[in-house]
């Protein structure tokens, strides 16, 4: 057990270092959600005056989207990194050690989760520095971080699953636009209660990303909304369970040999 933890720590360390030492990969994924947050706030801040809008600050309302977007982009990056390791043969190097292969993949994901956690902590600091007061207090911030870990695990595992299936970093990177589809067709810009009862509201209701955003959003602008939190954790946990199971199954049936 101790040996496995040491192996996991070193694999996670390498995974995180690889991202941190490539500024061209790291900074865009760190800053892009913040840029989008600033742009949407600039364009949609008058929504604060729409009757029934749940927040007095659109920035605080939209903040939740940055956490989910960060986890989504981090998931794609984790998949791209794993596929690159397969293409270059580095995964073979790791797989030729006595470290169990599931631990090798988990190590790659752990690095992505650590980065997502750091990213979320930075977003919280920026939010507080910008005048946002979390309605749920410091405890809520801890729950936001916990939910971020679960979201990151889910999306990174989907990235790993795609990497193991396709063995192509280009193929995994090709799913990047899907992150925007998931974000745009959710309650990212507007609460679902204010959406026109049409196809968009239906899509947003079926889109799991809506529930992740609403769980974080509740902690920021409402307080302890147990219903939203339960739905958010259930969706994140369900996605993580599904993605980890798919990844484990793929790992069992497909060779990692380049």
């Amino acid at each position: 057990m101790r040996r496995s933890l040491i192996q996991l720590r070193w694999l996670a360390r390498r995974s995180a270092l690889r991202t941190l030492r490539r500024p061209a990969a790291f900074y865009p994924s760190l800053l892009f959600p913040l840029v989008l947050l600033v742009i949407t706030t600039g364009g949609l801040h008058l929504s604060e005056h729409v009757p029934g809008f749940p927040a007095t600050s659109y920035f605080a309302f939209a903040l939740a989207g940055a956490f989910v977007q960060g986890a989504l982009v981090g998931g794609v990056n984790a998949g791209v990194d794993l596929a690159t390791d397969m293409q270059t043969g580095f995964l073979n190097r790791l797989s030729l050690t006595p470290t169990p292969r599931r631990l090798v993949i988990l190590g790659e994901l752990a690095g992505a989760v650590v980065l997502a956690l750091s990213q979320a902590a930075l977003y919280l600091i920026i939010a507080v520095a910008s005048g946002v007061r979390l309605a749920s207090g410091p405890g809520g911030a801890a729950v936001v971080l916990a939910l971020t870990v679960l979201m990151s695990l889910a999306f990174s595992s989907f990235g790993a699953f795609l990497a193991l299936r396709t063995r192509s970093s280009e193929a995994v990177l090709g799913t990047f636009p899907l992150t925007f589809v998931l974000l745009l067709f959710s309650s990212f810009f507007m609460p679902r209660a204010l959406m026109h009862r049409g196809w968009f509201a239906t899509v947003a209701a079926w889109n799991p990303v809506s529930y992740l955003i609403e769980a974080v959003r509740g902690l920021v602008i409402t307080g302890w909304d147990t219903g939203a939190l339960a739905r958010g954790f259930a969706v994140a946990g369900g996605l993580a369970g599904l993605a980890v199971a798919l990844t484990a199954l793929t790992l069992r049936t497909r060779s990692v040999a380049a």
Binding site: W10, L17, G89, F90, L96, T97, P98, S255
Partner: protein, 331 residues
């Protein structure tokens, strides 16, 4: 910890009827049998696409066999893959390193994954980096290393945990002559002094000839010949004496004299060649006969049979030609 146990009696690599099939038709490895001892350097020779790397992947647990069985360091590759990986060191054909990590970071990562204690990782890693001439560059990112430095780091990582069986998949590809000879020296030392079993794949005849105690020649997934290099060469052929006449006008007369001592074989343009039973005595007799007839030679060359001749005899194709053909198909 590294597996340093040497089972003196048993083989370090054993395979029986090993098969790896891709899809319905392609049998990359087609029923290979192997038995390799500790302290032995086994050269696995064949052209590109013959099945060398797939065999290495099977023996190192990267690929499961389709059928047949194999054991490495006494452990079955299918059922005890973790124990196999603990015992082996592998340097793959493609040097796979992370360009943003330094050489030392690679060593520490590899040591941790092999379960070496921290002090051992640092000490053993430092020794090997020094031995392979990488100590000064150890803290530089690998992305800035030359091809030869990357290859040497790859070998450091393969040897870090003191493996009892070493797989080297075309290890001298891209190395300059001094680096290649240094590597050969290291491989010989590991086998002779430490009793490490070495499975070396190569497409270079001189490498197999210089290093291997035994050579297995693989073609189209099957081992077509297996013996010590000298024995293989002795089995298939006799030496060749190739000459050119000093005066072109005397070429016919020289050819007639040569024909008394052996059968003619193809030679370079402008040259004549015969195959003889014994190179030394044959050459002396030929020179005497030519002198007696007043004939002089411009050039004389004695060629011993090569592993390429062995490959040619066993497959009907030249090893170099087979490699070039495979490369053209691959391109």
């Amino acid at each position: 910890m590294g597996s340093t146990a040497r089972s003196g009696a048993g083989p370090c690599i054993e395979a029986a009827g090993l098969v790896r099939q891709f899809g319905k038709d392609i049998r990359a490895v087609d029923g290979i049998d192997l038995s390799i001892g500790y302290g032995e350097i086994y050269g696995f020779l064949g052209p590109n696409g013959a099945g060398k790397s797939t065999t290495v992947h099977l023996l190192t647990t990267l690929l499961p066999p389709t059928s047949g069985r194999a054991s490495v360091a006494g452990h079955d590759v299918s059922t005890r893959a973790g124990a196999v990986r603990q015992a082996i060191g592998v340097a793959m054909q493609e040097v796979a390193l992370d360009p943003v990590l330094s050489g030392r970071e690679h060593v520490l990562l590899q040591g941790a994954l092999h379960g070496l204690r921290r002090s051992e990782r640092v000490r053993r890693g430092g020794e090997l980096l020094e031995a392979f001439g990488l100590a000064a560059a150890a803290d530089r990112k690998v992305g800035a290393y030359s091809g030869g430095m990357k290859r040497r780091l790859d070998l450091v990582l393969a040897l870090l945990h003191r493996p009892s069986v070493l797989f080297l998949d075309e290890p001298t590809n891209g190395l300059d002559v001094p680096s290649r000879e240094a590597l050969w020296h290291q491989v010989r030392r590991l086998a002779r002094e430490d009793g490490v079993g070495v499975f070396l794949t190569t497409q270079y005849l001189e490498e197999a000839d210089a290093l291997a105690d035994r050579v297995g020649i693989i073609d189209l997934g099957r081992i077509v010949a297996e013996a010590p290099p000298g024995q293989l060469k002795a089995e298939i052929g006799r030496p060749t004496i190739e000459v050119t006449a000093a005066e072109p006008a005397e070429e016919m007369a020289v050819a007639a004299t040569l024909a008394l001592f052996g059968s003619a074989v193809p030679a370079r343009p402008g040259a004549l060649a015969i195959r003889v039973e014994d190179a030394t005595s044959g050459l002396v007799e030929i020179m005497r006969a030519l002198a007696a007839n007043g004939l002089a030679l411009g050039h004389v060359e004695v060629r011993q049979p090569s592993l390429n001749d062995v490959f040619l005899a066993k497959t009907g194709r030249s090893l170099e030609g087979a490699t070039e053909q495979a490369e053209r198909v691959g391109a």
